[in-house]
């Protein structure tokens, strides 16, 4: 098949062709489509370029080994991102020895929170958003990225993090609140 022909195929079609032929050109196509996005999430969560590079390679090795197990129940992108987030969160827990990766694990969760409107976060200037994302706990960051960057549903996020949908709704609410507070603290004027 010509390179242009492969480019037009959906992810699922590329996977099916790869599984039939075991030709590395199909896997290369998946790698080209997703390596940048995977790297972007890794650098967001792990913060060090070399770590993010190694993580991207490890994640694609996992994808390569488990591609036959991809059932097609969810979108391929959701499956790839779930491997990515779980890899990074596990890494942070084990290597960086951070057990509390969500703000609610660290802070007092007694008081009820007001809901932060989506647009208040979505419209923060990119450079400022980067700084805000750098100071919030990695779990909060992962939930925000899944929701607003990957457009994942609450159900999909719950599946990725092995939590209930109501727990994810609460984590998302707290993550938005944490981001808003951090924004106000960093950019007081």
């Amino acid at each position: 098949m010509s390179k242009q022909g492969i480019n037009k195929l959906t992810d699922e079609e590329v996977i099916s062709l790869y599984l039939k032929s075991r030709s590395s050109s199909y896997f290369t196509m998946l790698y080209s489509r997703y390596s940048g996005k995977v790297f972007s999430k890794c650098i967001s969560l792990l913060k060090v370029e070399q770590l993010a590079d190694d993580a991207t390679q490890d994640i694609f090795l996992k994808i390569y080994l488990n591609l036959a197990k991809f059932s097609g129940k969810s979108k391929f992108s959701t499956w790839v991102y779930s491997i990515t987030y779980n890899y990074c969160i596990d890494y942070i827990r084990k290597k960086k020895k951070e057990k509390n990766i969500f703000s609610e694990d660290i802070e007092n969760v007694g008081e009820p929170l007001s809901d932060v409107p989506d647009f208040e976060l979505l419209e923060i200037e990119v450079e400022r958003l980067k700084k805000v994302m750098d100071v919030i706990p990695p779990g909060d960051k992962a939930v925000l990225l899944m929701k607003y960057q990957d457009d994942m549903s609450i159900r999909d996020i719950a599946e990725v993090l092995s939590k209930s949908e109501s727990a994810i709704k609460m984590k998302l609410k707290r993550a938005k609140h944490k981001a808003q507070i951090s924004y106000k603290e960093i950019f007081k004027d």
Binding site: T28, G36, S44, Y64, L65, F119, L122, E123, Y148
Partner: protein, 87 residues
Amino acid sequence: MSEEKRNNFKRLEEDNDLGPRDDKEIKGTISFISSVSRVIELYLPGFFQLMISMTGGGQDNNSKSRKPDSHGLSKRDNERSPSEPPK
């Protein structure tokens, strides 16, 4: 005309994305991934089998460890109480 909603999380992703890598680098990574996965698929099951047999598990291991002077009974068989019949 409705204005498209701004979402700077998407722009954040574009900023972090290093862009398309060159073909040589991608080919190198893919060949690395396929050779590592081949090693894992070929040797990992064997490695686990070896570990299991070293730690005394597995069916073959039990029959090999029986000593001729124990009259066909393994040490574990001899440790059973007299009321239990040997296997």
